[in-house]
Symmetry: C2
Subunit: 341 residues, 2 copies
DNA sequence: TCCCAGTAGTAATTCGCATTAGCAGCTTGA
DNA sequence: TCAAGCTGCTAATGCGAATTACTACTGGGA
């Protein structure tokens, strides 16, 4: 019915060049020279028509035959261009874009995925994942059901951020080594003389949360206090920490660190003189604070970049290692100092 | 490669239910009741098998039939996710994304377009424009040669931002009415008592520049001073304006307004007491300034949104009006006041 | 003169699904 | 009794591109 006005097909090209559709296809796919049993003269004629018309193969038709289209999908669990959290997601996307450009691929944003229960879902009636050759997945938390299904269907994809196995099968990813970065920060605190550490934050749910807690526990000991930030009042949380004799606090979220620091200031305590404070990664939500926190940087652009590179390798069957962890750079900051004597 | 091994097809379902593929298709598509001449018994049997197997139609195959791929291209003349200028382009893209989501389309970013002469080009060897059903074009300045070719090829596209005709043929766009917004600001200044106005900025090149100058001239008179910001020294430009007796300056670019204001302050002049200053649109480059400029807002998200809507309409042959101008909202600000007596 | 090999192209088929045309078998109606 | 009209299903076709199988032609050697 709704006839696409100008969609050109190989038949059109064939007609214009006075050859068969097969010939057009051969010209396009044996571009090199090997095995192409097409006279140079003919090939040039066909290519000329293609150039003049700007013909490009229908990606759907090609995917029907399991061909690659140089199209990489990008699936985000939040809108790509939001006002909030833009600052956080952007660097990943910048890396993705950069890498896609280098490998000559176009990026397909799956904006068609409808939001359900406040989240986008990959799998829905009419999911168009297969339009892309493969897909990069971006999101703090990715429902494991979706991951399982992707793995089960053998769909080529790479997550940005480490992921747990899905149904016992490894999930391809390029992640940041939060475990190690967190552990290193604890060690740094220890070498400054701290002995009582505490972790404040969710610590569960997303892998990124769990990894930070894991790193903390590894270095601080399994019995070090772990405070989920549920308690409504920062002052109360601070009080509990001080009661426990904690001298160095590791906050998963920068916002929490800021809240605690403020509560401390309200009590006349100063950071880091009376209490050291470390944040575990770049803020997801922009926070206003004059404090230059000690912590680490997440190598976001690199993660995006390498995710695309890995995906391309996977698509070309050029790799068997599908999981990469990148180091985080520790930042000096000014919120970690020796404990009060 | 990416074909899931055990992927079910209607043929499989048909075999399992002991019917033909056609029947399966009919059962699935005439679900309602109209025209479906399938015995309830048969239909139930088919549905049963579908339920048991979890079969889902391949969306690619479906889309093959109704000619539209639901892929909208987005061509930007700069990278989409840069660190600089992100603030300016983002709102457009947010609108585009939002609208694409609503119309169930995916967005294809043409990251594969190579950069030549410091700019991306649509048309290059092997351009993949036609992979998408149509395309949204984003950029301050779009080479008219490219526009001409798009129009000539009858390729469905919509520009964000007004564009001049290409080779005498109208270019589809959703733009902002800079002419009117600028003229209104001049009128506002006039009603405050100003009589000598000046326009500072390129004023030519991109349509967006030209439109502002046009609006300015329309309201201020063709002989009002127009200063291209070429002169290297802001102080010098300021001097020239004051010499000419100008009391209200209309700066195309916020950065220029800031520079002039600074130069004025250096001479002990204050804005708006000694000199009124108006900026014509949101800053393209973030500028640090404590001044809250009088000017207007560009309805960027709306422009992006409507560009997609228009494109979709064009693709469905549902519209003949392919040019839209949106109003800009004037901002009060504090840099426009009555002229010094 | 005939056969084999090589060259340059085309017809036919495939992917998974929707749609159209059509084919049996069973009522009706006159 | 037979054409006309249903009912319930299937064969055939098409979407656009890739691939396989095949054909038509040209030379060269014996």
């Amino acid at each position: 019915m709704s006839q696409a006005p100008g969609r050109l097909t190989q038949r059109d090209i064939a007609r214009l060049a006075g050859v068969s559709q097969t010939t057009v296809s051969l010209v396009l796919n044996n571009r090199g020279e090997a095995g192409a049993r097409i006279a140079p003269e003919t090939r040039d004629r066909v290519l000329q028509v293609i150039r003049e018309t700007g013909y490009a193969a229908d990606p759907l038709a090609r995917r029907m035959l399991n061909q690659l289209n140089q199209i990489l999908g990008v699936f985000t669990y939040e809108p790509v261009f939001p006002s909030t959290s833009a600052d956080f997601y952007h660097p990943f996307l910048r890396g993705i874009e950069e890498s896609a450009e280098r490998s000559g691929c176009d990026l397909l944003l799956f904006t068609s995925a409808p939001v359900r229960d406040g989240q986008r879902r990959i799998f829905h009636e009419d999911n168009r994942l297969r339009v892309a050759d493969g897909c990069v997945l971006l999101g703090r938390e990715i429902p494991s059901a979706e991951l399982s299904r992707l793995v089960a269907e053998d769909y080529p994809f790479v997550c940005v951020g480490r992921r747990d196995d899905a149904d016992g099968r490894p999930v391809p990813y390029v992640g940041a080594d939060y475990v190690n970065a967190t552990a290193q920060l604890v060690e740094r605190a220890r070498s400054l003389g701290h002995r009582r550490f505490a972790f404040v934050g969710p610590g569960t749910g997303a892998e990124s949360s769990a990894d930070r807690l894991t790193g903390f526990r590894r270095a601080a000991g399994a019995d070090a206090p772990f405070l989920s930030a549920d308690a409504p009042d920062p002052a109360e949380r601070l009080a509990r920490l001080l009661e426990a004799g904690v001298t160095a606090v590791f906050a998963e979220v920068e916002a929490e660190a800021v809240a605690l620091a403020r509560a401390a200031a309200a009590q006349g305590l100063s950071v880091p003189r009376d209490l050291s404070m470390v944040t575990l990664g770049d803020p997801t939500i922009p926070v206003h604070s004059s404090l230059d926190f000690t912590g680490f940087h997440i190598p976001r652009p690199q993660m995006g970049q390498q995710a695309v590179e890995l995906l391309v390798d996977v698509l070309h069957g050029q790799t068997s290692v599908t999981q990469r962890l990148l180091d985080c750079e520790l930042t000096q900051g000014e919120t970690l100092g020796p404990p009060a004597a």
